[in-house]
């Protein structure tokens, strides 16, 4: 009897120790995660595991690229479908009147693609003529100025202005061999990241900032409050220029987070400005991070661990509609919430 009891004691101690040591601690306590597991409206319109690379809004209608285009009125909850062409619809922008959508003809990266223009008023779809186009990398608008990053048939990469119908001056001569993964128009110049360099393109041509170290650059934005440039990298760094033309840069980071008990550099991506001095930057696998350019400039990870799929998500892009921020994720659907006076609303919505 005593032997059995001793064996049971040893087994139970071993079991408790094993269970305790296998604990998976988050950045917040377990009770805190429970308290913050605020309701998610989850009518599964776009799918909880949908890839939503981009979205935009024309008038009162939201458009989301999810392979095809889904759209809904901002006052509605039901998403309708729209297909402009055969193929994968994956990037969206608008000049205020027309929707621009990049479409891959085939499922793989070697496929050719096109940029389509859709007018919701007339329901007319036309192909945008881009000289030497092989496929579209990304399309973005800055106000009514629409730019497309694209791959050419000679396998180099460039930027095209939809507004002027021209390639950026002098950019073709650079023969860029890496995709232009992000770009921003500051009102005068186009700034873009390509491979391990950051460039400024103007009517005089495009040149790389040689005062920036080589890094896997992923995102770029322009702080219209401080008139400074910000760039992000896949290895957890944020660079900030001290003027509008990148005369000098300050590096921040690397910012890290714990994943599977390992410290990992945050793989940053696109930025969005949600209010003056207040930016979000997406990651591939660590949700999104805050940057307050008015104070410490430190990037902090959003701590909404209860919304686990967003917290650990890959956020490809953002869209801000007044006080509502949309999070376009890869593999975790389209999320949104209101943001006002430094605080998120109580309900996280997964469209």
């Amino acid at each position: 009897m005593k032997l059995i009891r001793n064996i049971l004691a040893v087994c139970s101690i071993t079991l408790f120790a094993a269970l305790a040591l296998s604990c998976n601690e988050g950045t917040n306590t377990l009770f805190d995660n429970i308290i913050n597991d605020t309701p998610i409206r989850n009518n599964n319109q776009l799918g909880n595991t949908a890839n939503v690379p981009a979205m935009t809004k024309i008038g009162t209608t939201y458009y989301a690229a999810v392979g095809k285009i889904r759209f809904r009125a901002d006052s509605a909850t039901i998403w309708d479908s729209l297909t402009l062409a055969t193929g994968i619809h994956y990037t969206l922008a608008t000049d205020g009147a027309n929707l621009y959508c990049g479409v891959f003809d085939g499922p793989d990266g070697s496929a050719t693609g096109h940029l389509y223009q859709y007018n919701p008023g007339t329901a007319e779809t036309t192909v945008v003529n881009i000289a030497g186009l092989k496929s579209i990398v990304k399309v973005k608008n800055f106000g009514s100025n629409v730019y497309a990053s694209y791959k050419k048939t000679d396998n180099t990469y460039s930027l095209w202005s939809i507004t002027t119908g021209l390639e950026l001056p002098g950019l073709g001569a650079l023969n860029l061999t890496a995709p232009i993964v992000d770009f921003v128009f500051d009102g005068v110049n186009v700034l873009f990241v390509c491979g391990t360099s950051v460039y400024m393109g103007s009517t005089m041509g495009s040149t790389a900032f040689d005062n920036l170290p080589s890094n896997p650059y992923a995102g770029i934005t322009y702080d219209t409050t401080l008139n400074r440039i910000m760039v992000s990298t896949l290895n957890g760094l944020i660079f900030q220029s001290d003027d509008a033309v990148g005369s000098n840069w300050t590096s921040y980071g690397p910012y890290t987070y714990m994943r599977n008990s390992t410290s990992t550099n945050a793989p940053f991506g696109e930025f969005i400005m949600v209010s003056a001095n207040y930016f979000l930057v997406g990651t591939s696998g660590a949700g999104f991070w805050y940057i307050d350019t008015s104070s410490t400039w430190a990037a902090d990870r959003w701590n909404g661990t209860a919304q686990a799929e967003l917290y650990n998500g890959a956020i490809n892009s953002f869209y801000v509609d007044a006080t509502r921020v949309f999070f376009c994720t890869i593999g975790a659907g389209l999320w949104d919430n209101t943001y006002a006076a430094g605080a998120w609303g109580g309900t996280w919505t997964r469209e």
């Binding site: 009891r5 049971l8 408790f16 601690e25 661990t305």
Partner: protein
């Protein structure tokens, strides 16, 4: 580095929990070595003596009450809905009025998003028993650890449960009763977690219980 902190933070509940369990596991062995004392026969019921054993099976509900944030004393709603709980206990009588036991409880509760908070308290328990004709009132105090899981996160906390249980003696080997317990779960922040996230969890535990004496 973080693992070190986590293990350090876990040491307290683990060590105290294991010590308590070992202590209570040793008691029956000590009881075997001691000479049983004759107990006074009880009118209307079965008399228990040192070394008598029983299993207690319970089925009921765990009702979340509130979290108390210790840094500023703020009471917060738990954001959980009540859920089912089951338990099994091995009990050993020390005398007619005292018993010790080890209990394993399993339960879960839902958040508004239907995420599940799993809980597995493992406690050592001491009971004082008051006999009222064919009824028995158990006043229990349990101490142990609680293994918890929510989303992808898991954690171990201390666990304290005062409990009262009222049983009706159905036959010499079976008692049926109702138990009401109060779970106190202090959850300390570990290194890397904000200090103001230390909370005291408060839950109510209501169950129907059956004692099988053997």
């Amino acid at each position: 580095m973080k693992e070190k902190y986590v293990i350090a933070a876990l040491k307290k509940p683990i060590v105290i929990g294991i010590a308590a369990l070992l202590f209570f596991q040793m008691l029956p062995a000590m009881a075997e070595d001691a000479k049983p004392q004759p107990s006074k026969p009880r009118a209307g019921g079965v008399t228990h003596i040192l070394g008598d054993q029983a299993f207690i099976f319970s089925l009921g509900a765990a009702i979340p009450l509130f979290f108390l944030r210790t840094s500023d004393g703020v009471v917060e709603p738990t954001n959980l809905y009540p859920g089912p709980r089951v338990s099994i206990e091995y009990m050993n009588y020390l005398s007619q009025s005292f018993a010790v036991g080890v209990e394993v409880i399993g339960g879960f509760m839902f958040s508004p998003n239907l995420n599940i908070y799993f809980t597995l308290p493992i406690i050592a328990k001491i009971s004082y028993i008051i006999y009222i004709d064919t009824f028995q009132l158990f006043l229990n105090m349990g101490l142990g650890i609680e293994l918890e899981k929510f989303l992808e996160y898991s954690h171990v906390d201390f666990f304290v449960r005062p409990q009262a249980a009222f049983y009706l003696n159905l036959d010499p080997s079976i008692d049926l009763g109702l138990s009401v317990g109060y779970w106190l779960v202090p959850q300390f922040n570990t290194a890397g977690q904000p200090a103001d996230q230390t909370r005291l969890g408060n839950f109510l535990d209501v169950s129907v219980s059956l004692i099988y004496h053997f």
